[in-house]
């Protein structure tokens, strides 16, 4: 239903908007990885869209040989009160994705959490460290190939 915004997006970034689909009244726009930051800056500054509230940045593991990881941005506009979702897919061989902390400072911690859980490195992130797991943990737990019960003594326990 955000047709005007999608049109203006297509005109300004013709080659970067890959696919738009609707489900349950929500619009999801798949964007090319390299120009996610210009698209986000446009969506934030354009008066018709004005998505000034980055509600959430999260990762997902599609577990497909190529384009395995997805980074999903749920955006919300305070003035127009509508929502949009941007999706970027990142390949496992080179898990890097530009960071949007320049556009929304609030995306800093969700990106750190996505790095911690999936291993997607965000270039340009001010302080990319693990969010939840201890620093010496060598895996990324939310990947589909990581067992739910964890790997025995991957994190050391104090002696009895």
């Amino acid at each position: 239903m955000l047709t005007t915004i999608i049109e203006s997006l297509r005109t300004r970034f013709p080659q970067s908007v890959l696919e738009v689909n609707e489900f349950r009244g929500e619009t999801t726009v798949r964007v090319r990885k390299d120009d996610i930051v210009p698209v986000c800056t446009f969506l934030r500054d354009d008066p018709a869209a004005s998505f000034d509230y980055c509600s959430d940045v999260c990762g997902a593991d599609a577990y497909t040989p190529e384009e395995r990881f997805q980074v999903i941005y749920n955006l919300y506009s305070m003035t127009h009160r509508h929502r949009i979702r941007l999706k970027v897919s990142v390949d496992e061989s080179h898990p890097h994705c530009p960071s949007v902390t320049a556009v929304w400072p609030g995306a800093e911690w969700p990106e750190r959490e996505t790095y911690d859980m999936f291993g997607v490195v965000f270039d340009g992130h001010p302080d990319l460290r693990r969010m939840y797991m201890p620093e010496d943990f060598a895996y990324h737990p939310l990947r589909k190939d990581f067992p739910m019960m964890g790997i025995p003594d991957s994190i050391p326990l104090p002696r009895k």
Partner: protein, 418 residues
């Protein structure tokens, strides 16, 4: 890798982050050495297991790096291995101060994904329990803020009120606060008139008691001066940092999901969204106090307007049938077997549904590939985003202001660490 090496690595990484953290705070007569202090995971004023690594010059905070993860229980990994129904008990332990709110939020997201709608009566009961959960969460929020700032008696008073709310939850759902009361497409069971009477009895005496607690704080000069002008944040910065709930309404932004993206029966109710423009801890406290008063009004209206009718949507393929029919009727038995073992199979797609939790925007983002369990479930927890702004709020303030700011942000580590 033994424990000491591991601790060594953890310490280096966070210390490096603290060293090269560019802070806006600078002094003309700064001491040449700053003290680095741990306001660590086990601390009475951090509202759970949050760790703040603070660099101090004398008593003023120069830089702060929060560290989370001490209560990371792997919620999202669990969700991927459980069917939608099995996950409902987990949602009470997310924000354990307002569990009924999380149940409603999760179930609304799944219903949006599956594409069914709860009947009118169930929607009314869900609104009532959400607002009661908001009152109980704010009672602890205000009580803990008062205790952190020194007013111990208020904490005991608000907790006594909260115990009466626990009695209502116990009457309604059977548990004090791990309720797991909602189901996909309705509720566990209907609200008996006895519970409705208990709620209205509570609503009759609660405002006077609450007013007594609040009047003890509002006119108390120490309390007001400890919170006034402490942890100030501007409108634009609050929006950019993703703050939510009373914290963003404290800076003058009128953002309330009950009004901006109405769900349940909120459009039919009239209630005001309390906003105050100070942007400091005191205005966040005032917003919380007014929100409790609004919630009391909402629950009273819901009790009057609640219609009779079923509490389960009649979607046999998607909603768990009632237990007594499962034992007697063949069709219900099959549906029950299919739903419990294979889960409600939603269509392929992804959905994000946000609810106005007591701490802010509580959202569930679900990716489904048609199986009974979600492919990916992300919990957008408000306390996680609220905590992100702690460095911006406490840098430049005194070390005793950290306690007041954390109390006014009212984080809950259960949902911040997921």
């Amino acid at each position: 890798m033994n424990i000491d090496q591991a601790m060594e690595i953890r310490q280096q990484k966070i210390l490096a982050a603290l060293e090269n953290k560019n802070t806006s705070v600078h002094f003309d007569d700064a001491l040449d050495n700053e003290m680095v202090l741990n306001m660590g995971p086990q601390h009475p004023a951090t509202h759970g297991v949050l760790r703040l690594l603070i660099k101090l010059d004398g008593e003023t905070v120069v830089a702060c790096v929060p560290e989370l993860g001490y209560l990371h229980r792997g919620y999202e990994k669990l969700a991927e291995n459980m069917s939608y129904h099995e996950y409902i008990p987990h949602t009470d332990r997310l924000d354990y101060l307002s569990p009924l709110m999380n149940n409603t939020a999760y179930v609304l997201a799944v219903e949006k994904l599956v594409g069914i709608e709860a009947p009118k009566r169930a929607q009314y009961i869900r609104t009532i329990i959400s607002e009661l959960a908001r009152i109980s969460s704010h009672l602890v929020g205000i009580g803990a803020l008062a205790m952190d700032v020194g007013a111990l008696t208020v904490f005991t008073w608000t907790f006594t009120e909260r115990e009466r709310l626990y009695d209502i939850f116990e009457l309604l759902t059977g548990a004090r606060f791990t309720t797991s009361f909602t189901r996909i497409g309705g509720l566990a069971h209907d609200m008996t008139p006895e519970v409705a009477a208990a709620i209205s009895a509570f609503l009759d005496t609660f405002p006077a008691k609450f007013h007594e607690c609040i009047s003890m704080l509002n006119t108390n000069r120490i309390f007001v001066e400890r919170l006034e002008g402490v942890g100030v944040i501007t409108r634009e910065k609050a929006i950019a940092l993703g703050l939510g709930g009373p914290n963003i309404r404290g800076t003058g932004v009128e953002h309330d999901i009950r009004r901006s993206e109405p769900y349940l029966v909120y459009p039919e109710l009239d209630f005001a969204v309390p906003v105050s423009t100070g942007g400091d801890s005191l205005s966040r406290y005032y917003v919380r106090v007014n929100e409790v008063k609004e919630s009391v009004k909402i629950v009273r209206q819901c009790l009057e307007k609640i219609p009779a009718g079923p509490v389960h949507a009649n979607e046999p393929k998607k909603v768990l049938p009632r237990k007594e029919r499962v034992y007697t009727k063949m069709e219900e038995l099959i549906h029950d077997f299919m739903l419990v073992n294979f889960g409600v199979n939603p269509p392929v797609g992804e959905v994000y549904h946000a609810v106005e939790g007591s701490k802010g925007e509580l959202g569930f983002y679900i990716q489904s590939r048609g199986e009974g369990h979600p492919w990916r479930l992300k919990i957008r927890s408000p306390s996680f985003m609220n905590l992100q702004s702690t460095p911006h709020l406490i840098e430049g303030g005194m070390i005793s202001d950290i306690v007041a700011v954390l109390g006014s942000l009212d984080p809950v580590m259960g949902e911040a660490d997921k």
